[in-house]
C-alpha cells in the first residue's frame, strides 16, 4: 500500500481552510457546545471559563478539564478545539492525546513560558495563535502555527483592540506588497520581524497572511462580526459574547447570520433586531496593565 503521511503542514493549514467564513464559538460544557452547533457554528473552542469569567475570577487560568473536553467531543460532530497556555507543551500534548482537532495556544490563559511559545512543528494536530501585528503573526507561523487570529482584548466585549490588530496587520502586509521586488528591504523586514525572509516574501507575493486569519477578542454583536469580516478576516471567534448575553441561542444564530452576510447591512440589521442585552463589556482604559491579556506572548 502507498505510504500514508499524517500531521503534514498541508493537512494542518488545510484544516484551518475548512473552517473559513463562519464562526467558532467558545464553550465550557457539552450543553453549550450543542447550542453552538445548532446555531451554525463551524467549530467549538473548549475552555474552562469564558474570558469574561476568567477576568472576574482571577487566579491562574489553565487548559480545560479533559473530562469536559471529552464530553464536548462526544456531544457534537463539528470540530472541537481547545485552549492551552502559551509555552505549555505538556498541556498541548494532553489535548493532542484527547484527540481535539486544533489547539489554541492562547494568551487568554495564564502564560506558562515567558521566553518562548510551543514548538508547534512537533505536533500532529494544527495550532491557532493570537497576534497583534504582522511580526507576531509571522513568528507564530514560523513556529508552526497553521492559523492566526487577532488577539483583540478577550472578555471585554469591546471590539476596539481586534480592529487595531487587524488594521495593523493589513497595513504591514500592504507595505510588504509595495516593496516586494526590493530584496534588501524585504531582508530588513525579515530582520525586524525576526523571521526567515522566505516567509516575508511569501506574504508579499500573496498580499495576505500565508495562513487563515480569523478575528477574535471582544467581538460581542452581529455588527462587530460584520465589521471584522469587512476588515478582511476569514472568519470570527466569539468568546464571552454568546454565553454572557441574555439569550445565547438567539445571539449565536444572529452572529452566524451576520458573519455570513457581512457585506449586506440589511441582513446584519435583521440579525441584530430584538436580541436583548449584549454582554456588558468594559472599556480598555479600565483594565490595569496586568489585566491586558494581549500583552502576553509576543
Amino acid at each position: 500500500m502507498a505510504k500514508v503521511r499524517i500531521g503534514t503542514q498541508r493537512l494542518k493549514e488545510g484544516f484551518a481552510k475548512m473552517v473559513k467564513h463562519v464562526v467558532i464559538m467558545d464553550v465550557t460544557s457539552a450543553k453549550q457546545a450543542r447550542i453552538a452547533e445548532k446555531a451554525g457554528a463551524v467549530a467549538v473552542m473548549a475552555l474552562h471559563l469564558v474570558p469574561a469569567d476568567i477576568r472576574a475570577t482571577g487566579g491562574v487560568a489553565r487548559m480545560p478539564d479533559p473530562k469536559v473536553v471529552k464530553h464536548i467531543m462526544k456531544a457534537v460532530t463539528i470540530p472541537v478545539m481547545a485552549k492551552c497556555r502559551i509555552g505549555h507543551f505538556a498541556e498541548a500534548q494532553v489535548l493532542e492525546t484527547l484527540g481535539v482537532d486544533m489547539i489554541d495556544e492562547s494568551e487568554v490563559l495564564t502564560p506558562a513560558d515567558e521566553e518562548s511559545h510551543i514548538d508547534k512543528h512537533r505536533f500532529k494536530i494544527p495550532f491557532v495563535c493570537g497576534a497583534r501585528d504582522l511580526g507576531e503573526a509571522l513568528r507564530r507561523i514560523d513556529e508552526g502555527a497553521a492559523m492566526i487570529r487577532t488577539k483583540g482584548e478577550a472578555g471585554t466585549g469591546n471590539v476596539v483592540e481586534a480592529v487595531r490588530h487587524m488594521k495593523c496587520m493589513n497595513r504591514q502586509i500592504a507595505e510588504l506588497v509595495r516593496i516586494k521586488n526590493k530584496e534588501n528591504r524585504l531582508q530588513d523586514a525579515a530582520n525586524a520581524y525576526r523571521v526567515p525572509i522566505e516567509l516575508v516574501k511569501k506574504t508579499a507575493e500573496l498580499g495576505r497572511l500565508p495562513v487563515v486569519n480569523f478575528a477574535a477578542g471582544g467581538i460581542a454583536t452581529p455588527a462587530d462580526a460584520s465589521l471584522m469580516m469587512q476588515l478582511g478576516a476569514d472568519g470570527v471567534f466569539v468568546g464571552s459574547g454568546i454565553f454572557k448575553s441574555t439569550q445565547p441561542e438567539r445571539f449565536a444564530r444572529a452572529i452566524v447570520r451576520a458573519t455570513r452576510h457581512y457585506d449586506k447591512p440589511e441582513e446584519v440589521a435583521k440579525a441584530s433586531e430584538g436580541l436583548g442585552d449584549a454582554m456588558k463589556g468594559r472599556s480598555i482604559d479600565s483594565l490595569s496593565a496586568d489585566e491586558r491579556m494581549q500583552e502576553r506572548g509576543r
Partner: protein, 192 residues
Amino acid sequence: MKVGVIGLQGDVEEHLTALEKCGAEPVWIRSVAELEQVDAFIIPGGESTTIGKLMWESGMSKVVKKKVAEEKFPVWGTCAGMILVASRGDVQVKRTGQRLLGLMDAEVDRNAFGRQRESFEVELNVAGIKRFNAVFIRAPAFERVGKSCKVLAKFDGKIVAAEQGSVLATAFHPELTDDLRLHEYFLANAKR
C-alpha cells in the same frame, strides 16, 4: 465557461484559484440568483452540517436538485460536498437530522477516517487520472453505491471518488494541491 463555487463556508478561494488556472471563469456563489448564472459548480470542503444548513436556508438546495434532475447540471462535491451529494447517511447523519441533496445513489460515512489527528495524505490511483496526491481532512467515504454510480478510487476498502451522470464526488481535496488534473477532468466533462 462560468463555473461557480458554493461560497457559504469552507475552502472556497482554493477552488476559485484552481478553476482560474484551468482557464474557466470562476464565480463565488452565495445566492440562488448567482447560482442561476453558472454552467457548472463545485460544493467545496468545509463543515457539511454548516454548508448544508445554509444551502437549505438560502433555497439553493432546491434549485440544485432541480437543475441536476432536469438539465444534467455538472456538480462536483469535495469532502463536505461529497457528503451533501449522497442520498443516504450513516448513524451520525441520521442522529443530527442532516439533510442530503441525494444527487448520487450512495450511502455516505461522514467521518470515515477519524478526527484531524488521523487526517492524511496518500498517493492514490484514480480511474482516468492515475496517481494523484490525495489530501484527506476529517474525510468522508461512500460505504455503498448503487449500480448507476461508478467508483473512481478506493482507499482502505472505502470508496473515495465516484461519479454518476453529471455528478462527481471526491472525499479528498485536489484544491489544496497544485495538481489541476481533477479540476480539468470535471471541466472537460462539463463541456460535453
